[in-house]
């Protein structure tokens, strides 16, 4: 099985999707000859031509508006927004248009073919405009699906599933891991399920939930906890909307403790949604308050990003406090 980094896995998934279906069309800022600012679309224009892989003008609302129309026509657009920080000019097209196309037309028209790819998150010394995790804005929008892979294997399988999914999917790529995360990825076509969480590690004392780049950090915290004899169960949500509450509930019923971690600010973050659901469904089984380990309620900093980010030590401390509650 070949080894790939996350960008190679994404590129490989796009290549497979475009080869299989000539309705699949990739576009965005600099995605043509250059292959995208991170090179996720490298060589696709060479292989599939300028009509199926091309640069757009620098206009995010135009990219998604165009993609909505293209998807409504029956094509399968994979639109790239160069950084998730720059998705907000397209917010109206995503929230009011992509998400509601099927519902408002009574299914006369839909944009199910649409996938929006965008790199998110910190850890690359990107400062406040190249580090945000805007997932919570979109998880408040019925009609969208929000998917976040954690490694190259996930990225390929989930992206292929997103492109073929009958609903519009926002695909958030953890850019810190683009080259840092390397692993075995099957060369052939495969899909991972959207809407299902994955239990990465089983344990009895504590449940830890996260997604994307945060899974690696959670993994390190869990190693520290296990040295202290605390057995952690680790869940990667993979899809944030619609999210797999049942898998988390099942785990918390067993462990009685839950920690959710994300890079985005605390207030209004998706961890709050998980905490509310779990206290509703697991109230009598909880041994300690549900803890959230997140970024601060500030814009994302530049120089002090290590201090800002929820790292393995902050999560380890939350585990200790939970166990000793």
């Amino acid at each position: 099985m070949p080894t790939m980094n996350m960008l190679q896995a994404i590129n490989n998934a796009l290549d497979i999707a475009m080869a299989e279906d000539d309705k699949v069309i990739c576009f965005g800022e600099d995605v043509g000859v250059f292959g995208g600012v991170f090179r996720a679309t490298s060589h696709l224009q060479e292989k599939y031509g300028k009509s199926r892989c091309f640069n757009t003008p620098l206009v995010e609302q135009g990219i998604i508006g165009f993609a909505n129309g293209l998807a409504a026509q029956g094509s399968v657009p994979v639109a790239e927004i160069q950084f998730a920080d720059y998705i907000f000019p397209a917010f109206d097209q995503i929230v009011n248009e992509s998400a509601k196309f099927r519902y408002r037309s009574g299914d006369l028209f839909n944009v199910g073919g649409l996938t929006i790819r965008t790199p998110y998150g910190g850890g690359i010394a990107g400062g406040l405009y190249h580090s945000q995790s805007p997932e919570a804005y979109f998880t408040h929008t019925p009609g969208l699906k929000v998917v976040v892979p954690r490694n190259p294997y996930q990225a390929k399988g989930l992206l292929l599933a997103a492109i073929r999914d009958p609903d519009p999917v926002l695909f958030l790529e953890p850019k810190r891991l683009y080259r840092a995360s390397v692993g075995e990825v099957p060369q052939e076509d495969y899909q991972l399920p959207i809407g299902e969480a994955e239990v990465i590690k089983e344990g009895t004392d504590m449940t830890l939930v996260g997604w994307g780049a945060q899974m690696e950090v959670i993994g390190k915290a869990v190693e520290l906890a296990e040295e202290q004899g605390i057995a952690c169960e680790v869940i990667d949500l993979r899809t944030l909307l619609p999210w797999d509450a049942d898998t988390v509930v099942e785990s918390v019923l067993k462990t009685g403790r839950l920690i959710v971690s994300h890079e985005a600010p605390l207030t209004g973050g998706f961890a709050g949604e998980i905490a509310a659901t779990i206290q509703e469904r697991c109230f009598l089984y909880l041994e300690s308050p549900i803890a959230r380990v997140t970024g601060l309620d500030t814009p994302f900093p530049l120089v002090l990003e290590k201090e800002y980010l929820p790292d393995h030590l902050k999560i380890f401390e939350a585990i200790r406090e939970s166990v000793n509650f």
Partner: protein, 400 residues
């Protein structure tokens, strides 16, 4: 090639003057030097009848709104020639992505009075399943994209849709309607730029009707209307008399040729006037002079087309009278039927959010059903949908 000058030369655009293409004068006579378009008798009659039917539908439904039978309505009075004239120049399978005031396009393509009414009353037969306000029509069969309320969002979507048509090579184009107010939105500029760069067969049709709700066009843009913006995007453009159905038809017919044969976008600016209010919630007497409206009534697009048809002998006073009577009766009868129909089933609350109902949506729906079973009188439509007995007098049609 760079054209150097050696003295500062500022330009304002006043150097260009956009002419307005017009064929018929207000009396229905061809202007001197004007050439009648190749519009056969039956086609001309179809165009005119759709304009007339739109006017009558609008009058009746506005009255129904005033009677409290309908929560909301928007008229296209004064702009029928712009909308129907453009639609008549398209192939019936070309896509139309409209703003909200283009019922004339649907009328021309054969959307039935029943179909209009079902949407207006949001009943069980409404294609949109009672989810959107009145006038948000859509028809897959008639290639008419379901209307979306947020302004101008359809314009870049039209560029994308037309790009897909170009790749499919089916010889079709997309026409998108919008008002001069919508042309202030970023979506408009995004759409024109992308269409121009990517050589897309799309027609951007601006209905310049003078007002965006209460804001006159003089407060919407400083330049000479919308048309000159096309120069900046290196795009074909024409300004046309929007109250002259023949001129709109001919301009759009030629625009379609450019779009489909050359894969290029075209901008059309139709100069017209919104004779009626913006919507049923609006009162134009608060922001414009009656005399201004009266001056535009003399240029009524329907009368102009009618006079031309009468002169050609393609239409008669008798047909006019009988068509008006038939339509008025048809609208009233159909409205009564549509009002009485059941609302969409309760399940339509959760269908079409996703292709498949998610477990969480199903859980929320089951909880809602349990609640309605406990308090059926408080939710009469939902209760009836669940076959529970309720006192029908508590339910009122036309709730906003």
């Amino acid at each position: 090639m760079t054209n150097y000058v050696h003295q500062p030369l500022f330009m304002t655009g006043d150097e260009f003057s956009m002419a307005t293409f017009s064929l018929l004068d207000p009396e229905g006579e061809l202007y001197e030097g004007a050439k009648e378009p190749d519009l056969p008798r039956d086609h001309a009659r179809r165009l005119y009848q759709a304009m007339l039917a739109t006017r009558i539908l609008d009058e009746r439904m506005m009255a129904a709104q005033r009677q409290g039978r309908l929560s909301f309505y928007m008229q296209s009075t004064g702009e029928e020639a712009a909308v129907v004239g453009a639609t008549a120049a398209l192939d019936d399978a070309d896509m139309i992505m409209a703003q909200y005031r283009e019922q004339g396009a649907l009328m021309y393509r054969g959307f039935s009075i029943d179909e209009f009414m079902n949407q207006l009353f949001g009943n069980e037969l409404d294609y949109g399943k009672g989810r959107q306000m009145p006038i948000h029509y859509g028809s897959r069969k008639l290639h008419y994209m379901t209307i979306s309320s947020p302004l101008a969002t359809q314009i870049p979507q039209a560029t994308g849709y037309a790009y897909g048509q170009k790749l499919a090579g089916d010889g079709h184009c997309t026409l998108t309607f919008f008002g001069e107010g919508a042309a202030s939105e970023g979506d408009f500029h995004a759409a024109l730029n992308m269409a121009s760069v990517h050589q897309v067969p799309v027609i951007f049709f601006c209905r310049n009707n003078g007002y965006a709700i209460s804001t006159p066009s003089t407060e919407q843009f400083a330049a000479d209307g919308i048309a000159p913006r096309a120069f900046g995007y290196h795009m074909h453009v024409i300004r046309v008399d929007g109250n002259d159905a023949l001129a709109v038809y001919e301009a759009t017919r030629q625009a379609r040729q450019i779009a489909v044969e050359q894969n290029k976008p075209v901008l059309i600016e139709a100069m017209s006037y919104r004779l009626a209010a913006h919507s049923s919630s609006d009162d134009p007497s608060g922001y414009r002079a009656k005399s201004e409206e009266e001056a535009w009534r003399l240029k009524d697009p329907i009368l102009r087309m009618q006079k031309w048809l009468l002169k050609k002998g393609w239409w008669s006073e008798e047909e006019e009278t009988s068509q008006q009577e038939t339509l008025r009766r048809d609208v009233l009868d159909t409205m009564k039927r549509a009002e009485k129909r059941s609302p969409p089933p309760l399940e339509s609350l959760i269908t079409d959010v996703y292709a498949d109902i998610t477990p969480e949506l199903q859980r929320q729906f089951d909880q809602l059903k349990r609640h309605i079973r406990r308090y059926p009188e408080a939710y009469p439509r939902g209760a009836r949908s669940l076959d529970l007995e309720v006192n029908t007098s508590t339910d009122s049609q036309g709730e906003a």
